[in-house]
Amino acid sequence: MKNSVLLLISVFVIATCGLIYELVAGTLASYLLGDSITQFSTIIGLYLFSMGIGSFLSKFVKGNLLSKFIQIEFLIGFLGGVSSGLLFYLFNYVDSFRIILYALVAITGTLVGIEIPLIMRILKDNFKFNDLISNVFTFDYIGALLASLIFPLILVPYLGLIKTSLLFGVLNVSVGLVLCFSLDKAHVWVNKLKAIGMAVVLLLIVGFAFSDALTQHNEEVFLGEKIIIARSSPYQRVIVTSNKGRFRLYLNGNLQFSSDDEYRYHEALVHPPFRFNSDINRVLVLGGGDGMAVRELLKYKQISSIQLVDLDPVMLKLFKENSLLAKLNQHALSDKRLKVYNDDAMKWVAICKDSFDLICVDFPDPGNYAIGKLYTNTFYKSIQPLLKSKGLMVVQSTSPFFAPKSFWCVEHTIQSVGFNTLPYHIYLPSFGEWGFVMASKQSILNHSGHFADGLKFINDETFQTATVFPADMKADKVDVNRLDNQVLVNYFEDEWGKIQ
């Protein structure tokens, strides 16, 4: 009788655990894959169906049922416990993430499905059938209610997904362990199970203790968004977050794009030169390892060659191979016309013997001296030989509204080495006003070209407006940014420093 009370408490605990695993998988899938309705719906469906399979399979479980039950508890506890950590980790490294996700959900669901029928068979001699059904399901549903309440209110905000699943893994295994200890010590199998159970609990506890180190838990929630990818390259920390199916890329904590409006930025970076030169065939992209600029370029059939130089191999690999991110750039990094160089732009440009019709310069903002060098007169001088006489260059030049001196310093520096410039700006909901400088060795007047079809933002009218700068985006005299003064970094720090 003592065992039957314990078993009913077990039902309560395992029911809570089971629902928690299901919620963890659903939440995680929403974070990682976006579209929470689809994710929750499919995860719940698969989970319940797997439980059905488990129930069906339970009839094949024979012999020492209690021992089998305990073993299953250990297995579920372990699988459920490591599930979210494992999924977070694998998401970064596997292409077929969905298969792993659904497989894990199916296995956990199946095992959970075996639990209840098994427990009912174990208890069938201790209760009347009516009481048995009533007791088991009462505890089962109470556990489910508890799980569904504490999950959003306490567990996710305070523990995060990884620790939550580990914690419930521990509880799950503990159920098995408690049962072991309540049993007659005479059985050899009990002692064996005790040892195994304690080993698993220990493992999960160790995982719990080290989970911060494993997952940078502090980053798991980043600026209010869920981190789905966090990588450190030798150059920067690459973080991709997801929120309601919207992705954001952060480099060293600075927002680079948000998937819901990045098209505005990349259209503005890439398309305007095509209005001034109908003959753009060879293109160089400096920076832009996310492949978004290349995606825009590929809208022009006449382009025969695109060369892209980005320092960070991690960025290039992520945006080429990760199916979600490659979807954002429409697999631009795998296009045959593209040749990618994983190199330092300054170094690459210095030894490049090629020449281009268009050079898109898409570096991070000049927030430090290392990047500041890529905005100096020395750099623009070294670009000159790479640009054909009718060629055009576009440089992303930070915000003329938040950082007018920085913006005009870029423009002034480009001019100082002999380029004609055409500055323009657009509105990006995620960033605010953003500026670009177009440059050419010739005057930028000839409107002979056309924009590609199907653009969502840039057209003749919007571009016309973009070249008009109101008074609040002007700046007084600015210096040329040189290697030996790095004024741009100082302007940038002053101006953005005031805002942050």
């Binding site: 024979k62 012999g63 073993q71 250990f74 297995l75 372990f78 490591v82 195994i196 080993a199 698993v200 493992l203 160790v206 995982g207 080290f210 180190a213 494993l214 030798p234 150059y235 320092l311 330092d344 300054m346 170094k347 210095a350 430090n368 001296y369 290392a370 990047i371 060098k373 100096t376 007169n377 020395t378 040189r482 290697l483 030996d484 003064n485 790095q486 970094v489």
Partner: protein, 542 residues
């Protein structure tokens, strides 16, 4: 249920648990490998030819059988000897041999490298050159460092040679601050005295002596002989400051730092003339560079050495230990031991350029060939250490890493970022060059002290200096090597420069002493000047 099935299911569970345990241990050990292990970097000494040099000190008594006739022999391939060789070659005179004791030409401007970058072992910058040395400007022009001249004939420099921003920072009051005189850390008295000191130096900079020459000039040799200025050579820089009422602690430190930086000796040791020269002689102008800026490269002045080497068309030999120089029947006999080939040879020549420091000349020359001088040549030792660091682990409180990083109030001069002039993105692995002038009493005592230090004691000393500003520096260092310069450079002690300026002793015919020792100030421009001067004299005799 058959037994086999029973076992297989048990085995399944066990295997599952085993696998999970394995995975768990794997993840655990992976996470253990993430935090830094206690950092055990190694410190290695770099050969500075001391053992070879000591062979010379102890004397070699072999008379070589091999006799080589050579129109001109240049002893020492430092900046002076190489400049002389370059100048001869430019005049089409290539029948000379340039003999270097070390493995590498370059003297105090040699460099090393690792997989991260090149780095200097000694001299590492050239202040924007004055326009009064046309040969130097011409050399920089031919080397591509100067790209051309503007309408006012001012040189236009290729900006990759100019020290990038940020140039200097000082660690003071627990924080790195911008510049070497950060007002935020100074009292109003400090600031006042600095201002009046700089204005005094500005006056000296513009001063012209009664003989119409600049009071403080680079090269020193072209400075005024006006006694009004030469008398400043009779007192120490420290006394000069005291006499002028400069008692701000910061100013005193600053002046002392300047003396150590350029002369390797402190303000009590160097003369006021030399101390003022540091502040008042740099008048360089350029079309696109401001006066006061400097030229620098990852490998330091070894960049200039390479440019000199490109212009040397005569014979240039390394591993040459010159151990005896004599003059017999108007012919100089130069006995040389090639310690690499283990051969002895004697050069016979009528023209010798001794581009060697005075203490070496004294040991190898027949003393009758060396003019008698009353001045004392003193050389303090230096330690230079190059360390590869993971910059991400080098925590800095205050402003960011600069080219020159100085810690207030310490005996070391701080460190220079050898990767500062890199154009490519370099914010992770860096080479930092640490400079420590050694003053433990007199020059010879300091040398003795330095010689008695062990690798371990240097390591501790370097760490102690660095930890003031970077408590975690030990974690950031990946490896370190050091070089001890026993006779690093001449110290312009009281009376030295004025004696040199008052009268130059004429050495024996056909023998030219060309070394920055002749100026008393060990800088590139002086060595270059003396090298060119000697080469010119030789050309005028040919």
């Amino acid at each position: 249920m058959s037994d086999s099935r029973k076992i297989s299911r048990k085995t399944f569970v066990k295997l599952g648990l085993l696998a999970s345990a394995g995975a768990g241990i794997g993840i655990w050990s992976w996470s253990k490998s993430q935090p830094e292990k206690s950092n055990q970097w190694s410190l290695n000494s770099v050969n500075n030819n001391a053992d070879i040099a000591h062979m010379m000190r102890d004397g070699i008594h072999i008379v070589p059988n091999q006799i080589i006739e050579m129109p001109v022999v240049i002893l020492g391939a430092g900046v002076a000897g190489m400049s002389a060789a370059m100048h001869l070659s430019q005049a089409g005179m290539n029948e000379y041999v340039l003999l270097e004791m070390g493995e590498q030409n370059g003297g105090n401007s040699v460099s090393g490298s690792n997989d991260t970058s090149a780095f200097p072992w000694g001299a590492h910058y050239l202040p924007l050159p004055n326009l009064n040395q046309p040969e130097l400007i011409d050399f920089l022009h031919r080397s591509g460092i100067i790209t051309g001249f503007d309408a006012n004939q001012l040189p236009v420099y290729d900006e990759i040679n100019i020290c990038f921003d940020p140039e200097e920072r000082l660690f003071i009051d627990g924080k790195w601050r911008d510049g070497i005189e950060p007002e935020s850390a100074l009292s109003s008295k400090d600031i006042e005295q600095l201002e009046s000191f700089h204005s005094m130096m500005k006056d000296y900079q513009n001063s012209i002596g009664s003989d119409g020459k600049e009071a403080f000039c680079i090269p020193v040799h072209l400075s005024s002989r006006d006694e009004a200025f030469l008398k400043l050579d009779e007192l120490s820089m420290a006394d000069f400051c005291k006499n002028n009422g400069f008692d701000s602690e910061f100013l005193k430190w600053y002046v002392n730092y300047a003396c150590l930086d350029d002369y390797g000796a402190d303000a009590d040791t160097v003369s006021a003339w030399a101390g003022i020269h540091y502040f008042a002689s740099r008048k360089g102008k350029a079309a696109n560079v401001k006066t006061g800026q400097c030229l620098t490269w990852p490998e330091g002045n070894y960049r200039l050495i390479q440019k000199l080497q490109n212009n040397i068309k005569g014979q240039s030999l390394s591993h040459q230990l010159v151990y005896k120089v004599d003059k017999v029947n108007e012919v100089y006999q130069i006995d040389v031991y090639d310690y690499k080939l283990k051969t002895y040879k004697r050069y016979q020549t009528k023209q010798v350029i001794a581009a060697l420091p005075n203490f070496v000349c004294k040991r190898i020359f027949n003393s009758a060939l060396i003019p008698v001088e009353s001045v004392s040549y003193q050389y303090y030792p230096w330690l230079v250490a190059n360390m590869k660091v993971d910059y991400r682990k080098l925590k800095s409180n205050g402003v960011r890493l600069s080219w020159d990083n100085v810690v207030y109030g310490r005996s070391s001069l701080g460190y220079v970022n050898a990767c500062h002039q890199h154009l490519n993105y370099s914010e992770s692995l860096l080479n930092l060059t640490f400079y420590l002038p050694i003053k433990k009493g007199e020059a010879s005592e300091s040398r003795q002290w330095a010689g008695s230090q062990t690798k371990e004691s240097w390591k501790q000393l370097i760490l102690n200096e660095l930890e003031v500003a970077h408590p975690d520096v030990n974690e950031a260092i990946i490896d370190m090597q050091y070089k001890l310069w026993g006779h690093a450079m001449i110290a312009p002690v009281k009376g030295f420069i004025s004696a040199k300026l008052r009268k130059t002793k004429t050495p024996s015919q056909g023998l030219y002493f060309a070394h920055s020792d002749q100026s008393g100030i060990s800088i590139f421009e002086e060595a270059f000047y003396h090298g060119i001067k000697a080469a010119k004299s030789i050309l005028s005799h040919v």
